[in-house]
């Protein structure tokens, strides 16, 4: 369970613009610590965004996504006041879901 995500969803004439900032260390598994040991990989592998029960974006990530991942996209059919759910799962099976309201 990581820290809460920051989600901003705004209704625009051509769709809902979604910006998500997740809090995750996104460890590549290639870095060594001060003792020279490999730091095990720890990264978000799957992200799904749903709007009123319908999936509007899915993402599969590798360890090459930058620390504290940022994601931006746009979808049609959302209205002001609707709820948007963002879920991520990392390679250790940890998961977090956050909800935001479109405004």
């Amino acid at each position: 369970m990581g820290d809460p995500m920051r989600i901003r969803a705004t209704e625009q004439p051509d769709g809902v613009d979604v910006r998500v900032l997740m809090s995750h260390e996104m460890e590549t598994g290639q870095r060594r610590d001060s003792a020279g040991k490999l730091v095990p990989a720890h990264y978000i592998s799957t992200v799904t965004v749903s709007h009123s029960g319908k999936q509007v974006l899915s993402a599969e990530w590798g360890p090459a996504i930058a620390k504290n991942p940022y994601l931006q996209f746009k979808f049609k059919g959302g209205r002001k006041g609707d709820k948007l759910t963002v879920t991520w799962v990392d390679n250790k099976g940890d998961t977090r879901t956050d909800e935001a309201t479109i405004n």
Partner: protein, 153 residues
């Protein structure tokens, strides 16, 4: 190597559990593992093959928004816009990273084929945006110069 195997088994378990819970169908769970393989590919051609294509055709309909010079390879903003109709998936690949594939996005109907995220880059490299539309693969490429690498260090 052992570590890898254990992670793989653990992940397989997660997908199996998801399949059992009805979150994923069995076929989807298998497709998921094939996609995970794609994340281990070392080149553009290999990645496209593992994603189920043969070759990717160069396309002017895809645009990549990325800096020409990235000062910090640990955080390189990359945006991809596809004007190809029926875009199903968008993939971001960094040629000279240890594993090329950085991210894959599934674009359901109603969502614009336009995504942006931030990736890590080990060194100056070509960035490929691969788009899957109507089960065909298209690609566009842009070079991003990196002054400070983002892997290791």
């Amino acid at each position: 190597m052992r570590k890898h195997r254990r992670d793989f088994i653990k992940l397989s378990g997660v997908y199996a559990a998801m399949a059992a819970a009805g979150l994923l169908s069995v076929e989807e769970a298998f497709a998921q593992q094939a996609r995970n393989k794609a994340f281990e590919a070392k080149s553009l051609d290999e990645t496209v093959k593992l994603l189920g294509g043969t070759t990717a055709v160069q396309s002017g309909e895809i645009s990549i928004t990325a800096p020409d010079i990235a000062e910090n390879g640990a955080v390189v903003p990359i945006g991809v816009t596809s004007k190809i109709p029926n875009t199903q998936n968008i993939y971001i690949l960094v040629d000279k990273n240890l594993n090329s594939l950085s991210a894959g996005f599934g674009i359901p109907p109603g969502t614009e084929p336009n995504v942006a995220t931030r990736v890590k880059m080990a060194q100056t490299s070509n960035v490929h945006a691969v788009v899957k539309a109507d089960n065909k693969f298209y690609v566009a490429t842009k070079e991003v110069k990196v002054t400070l690498g983002g892997c290791g260090g």
